[in-house]
């Protein structure tokens, strides 16, 4: 009988087992999992920490309420799960692994196929910190339990998160919203979530946190953590912070020690190297989930994405291949999203910092728009920034935020990205339109049009973070109506020409000067910028996304 051993009993491992069982009723399937849990909903941890998800078991239950214990796996799926059992060695040449159970008992499991699904592990901080019940990562289910235990006893009134990436930001809301804990969030880069978001969008997150009482410190280096009784002192480049609890959320990296020492090849990004069938350098040895590196379908380089959505899909591919079906995982672009105090932030593929890192010559469009026709009572503002390759027009990435249907458009963009689409393809995106939740032109049509106009007419898009520089050197022309200006004043010298009558006032302008058109959301200024070009102006730019984005006025 065919025997398959899977190391790691979470998303990738369990999906492999479930799919394989469907394909092969008789194959022996064994999952080896270090922790006392199997098939745990890791991504739900922030909501357990916050108390929104009440019981720990909820994160291990099926939709019909059965807890996914080893017994459940045995009875319903005929899959053997060994929890509290660690795989300590893989011997690929002889098709067996060594395992150690919770009593320290060693044994050997032979296999026909092995699947490594050991996931990721949290990045260790570069600074010194004590072992403490008041300091934890936020990675393993036990981390969430540890925090919630103290929080429930009222022992934390003040916490600090070090690392403003995805997990840190999700946790920030969880910690403050239900427990009312005072929070400081520390990030060494110049903005939160800097891998996925440019400052234009990230600034919105920052304001949102601040206005919900969270103290956000960017550009801040932590040097050390000390403990004095129940108090921790975080030494930072901006001074010391006293706090009751510290989360270390500096990111994750592939958990590959076991694989590496067993002769499984790693790739340039530090993950297990696999081909599109998710095979390692051993024919009968597969790997899936956070521990592998995969093709980035936009940069065409290898990349590491620690995403549950991908881990699940990869598990399926591994099972198919074990079963002799030809199945491939071509890669991904790494779409992410998070919801913070009712505002959704989503991003797909690369941001400006990645373009610089990879020396990609790019340009961008920023936009703010209503998610529905502005006359619709519940219309909400969305912000977007799209990047594209300067030469070819190929799409590189999209970032959006707002209270409306943000993920909808980021997901459509993802499908296009993965097919090598250019900005011109955005003009052709068909969508369901009805005023109660969209506009006749969707945000992607709109972004496509903006880029097409910028490129065709040679208009310089000036992003909200560049505005500070431009306002000193360019002539600013505000195209809004008086009442709009009063509501959101422009804090610099400007010429006022109302868009509605601009043709009759245009002589106010010196067309040989450098002119930066400004309005509330962008369309009026882009349109006038084009007209000025037609009229012979040499250097024309516009504030992309308008004052709305400049003021993070979601």
């Amino acid at each position: 009988m065919k025997k398959v051993v899977i190391i790691g009993g979470m998303a990738a491992g369990c999906k492999t087992a479930a799919r394989l069982r469907r394909l092969e009723p008789d194959t022996e399937i064994v999952i080896v999992e270090k922790l006392p849990f199997v098939s745990f909903g890791t991504c739900g941890m922030p909501f357990f920490a916050s108390g929104e998800v009440e019981s720990f078991d909820d994160l291990m239950s099926t939709a019909w309420g059965t807890v996914r214990t080893p017994e459940f796996f045995h009875n319903a799926k005929n899959v053997k799960v060994l929890t509290e059992t660690t795989c300590t060695k893989i011997v690929p040449e002889h098709n067996f692994v060594e395992i150690v159970d919770k009593f320290g008992k060693k044994s050997i499991l032979s296999y026909d196929f092995l699947v490594v699904a050991t996931g990721s592990k949290p990045i260790e901080p570069p600074f010194i910190y004590p072992q403490s019940e008041r300091i934890s990562f936020f990675h393993s289910p036990t981390d969430a339990k540890k925090f919630r235990h103290l929080a429930e006893q009222g022992k934390i009134s003040n916490a600090t998160i070090i690392g403003g990436g995805f997990v840190g930001c999700e946790l920030a809301e969880a910690v403050t919203s239900l427990w009312g804990i005072d929070l400081t969030l520390i990030e060494k880069e110049n903005c939160l979530l800097s891998r996925s978001f440019d400052p234009e969008i990230s600034n919105v997150l920052n304001s949102l946190f601040q206005s919900n009482g969270i103290n956000v410190l960017v550009n801040t280096i932590v040097n050390q953590i000390e403990q004095k009784n129940d108090t921790l002192i975080v030494h930072t480049s901006k001074g010391n912070i006293e706090t009751d609890y510290v989360f270390l959320t500096l990111g994750v990296k592939p958990n590959v020690e076991l694989a590496e020492k067993s002769g499984i090849t790693l790739g340039a990004c530090g993950g297990i190297y696999v081909d599109e069938t998710l095979r390692t350098n051993f024919e009968n040895l597969f790997a899936a989930g956070d521990c592998i590196e995969i093709n980035n379908l936009v940069t065409h380089k290898k990349d590491v994405f620690a995403l549950g959505s991908l881990a699940n899909r990869q598990g399926r591919v591994v099972a198919d291949n074990i079963s002799g079906l030809e199945s491939t995982f071509k890669g991904a672009v790494g779409s992410i999203s998070l919801k913070v105090f009712d505002t959704i932030f989503a991003s797909t593929c690369i941001s400006t910092s990645c373009c610089y890192k990879d020396s990609i010559s790019f340009s961008f469009a920023c936009a703010s728009f209503y998610d529905r026709p502005h006359y619709y009572p519940e219309a909400k503002v969305l912000f977007a920034k799209a990047l594209y390759e300067k030469e070819s027009g190929r799409l590189l990435g999209l970032q959006m935020c707002g209270k409306g249907e943000v993920t909808r458009y980021v997901d459509i963009f993802t499908v296009l990205l993965e097919r090598g689409a250019t900005y011109k393809d955005l003009l052709d995106v068909e969508h369901c339109y009805t005023p109660s939740h969209s506009s006749p032109l969707n945000p992607l049509n709109y972004l496509g049009g903006i880029i097409e106009n910028q490129e065709r007419f040679g208009i310089t898009p000036v992003s909200s973070v560049e505005f500070e520089k431009y306002r000193k050197e360019w002539n600013i022309m505000d195209l809004r109506k008086e009442n709009e200006i009063k509501e959101m004043p422009l804090d610099c010298e400007f010429i006022h020409i109302d868009y509605d009558n601009w043709r009759s006032e245009i002589q106010k302008l010196d067309l040989s000067s450098r002119i930066l058109c400004v309005c509330q959301k962008g369309p009026r200024s882009l349109e006038i910028a084009i007209s000025l070009k037609h009229l012979g102006a040499k250097k024309v730019g516009y504030l992309a996304g308008g004052l709305q984005i400049l003021n993070s006025a979601l």
Copy 2:
């Protein structure tokens, strides 16, 4: 100087003008519009009728509050708009049109390029009805005004809508929700919105209307409307209905009389025939919007879609081509959506009735699932039905409903459809995943997996509307837990085998009989259906989408 005349001043016409002005600052652009309004937000009419949008002007305003009058077009865009002016004749051979203004004064406009954007017109009912201030279409802005005027005066306590298509259904909520009017909605087909939705999904809409007090009559033919004083009597195949107001919403058709009598070629669907550049049979004569027929990108036949989203995009293409840029409109699949009492219904491309009509050999998958992990407190149920071509696996259409992110997935599906994707491509759809608004596998991954399993293992999907037939002829096996069965009992004979322990109870079953597996949402029964096949069962089916869909239990 180049001169462009546009007939019709709504979505398609105005978009053409705006884009053309950007491309060509000096071209003379004239819009001829029969109504006293220009660039009116027709799609917002239901919300004006309901009172949600307070003023009529809101539907004609820019985002910054300026009403789009002819003066506005003149001042801001240098576009001449002639309202209350009808084009009565086109003479393509000599490049001029005849127009008549509101005083009956005729004149002639010559052109270099002509754009026909005359839109659609409501289908006339096949039955007799009187001219009455209490009967109207719901097509022109004045129709909305007429109704609201009477409603505001409290003169309508009871209304009837004839025609349960898109406009009829949108209007139904508008009429009842704010004005508290008793409403009957009459449809001649066996379900509402029958062009876009199959009964499984449409039934949900029906229940939703009924539970909000709307009287829905399907399979009902209207024979005549009579008026007695202020009361109308609607004679139907199911009896007479007395009512204060009747809306005739039997659909629309391209408004092409003017074009036709001028020698412009029409197509098989009755719309103006255009090529991909949106040119008619005359080189310098374009047409766009509801008056044309276009390629259906899935059936590869011509089709007529009266959709504002498409009209807008077509306007752009026309302007580009007039300006000498090569631009094409390749076609569409006709995605639509509507929101009814907080539930969203969306559909893309073809439904079962269209497959039958076009003799397409197809199969389907139905599913109900949470839009987020079930542990997440606000998780909501979504229903979906996907159709695919039986032989090739090519996707044909998707219908979804629910309170969650319905349009998100329908839009992604649309992008795939238009690229000729098969159900296997659904497995590879990458999405932004975070528990606050999605699941690690998105609905499209999930549907792809369902179809793959159905096809691979030869499992018969039984839809909720087929269940009535099957339950008499097949052995029903309920796989739910006792408490689930108690909450939503299955109203027929069945064998109970709890999924969690099915392996130990399987001897209860006669594998040579025809077995139909049933559970709450579908996954358990599909999984067991596969296992039964492995165990040697010959005929196995499952209730697709589970009892949740059968009971329209959103």
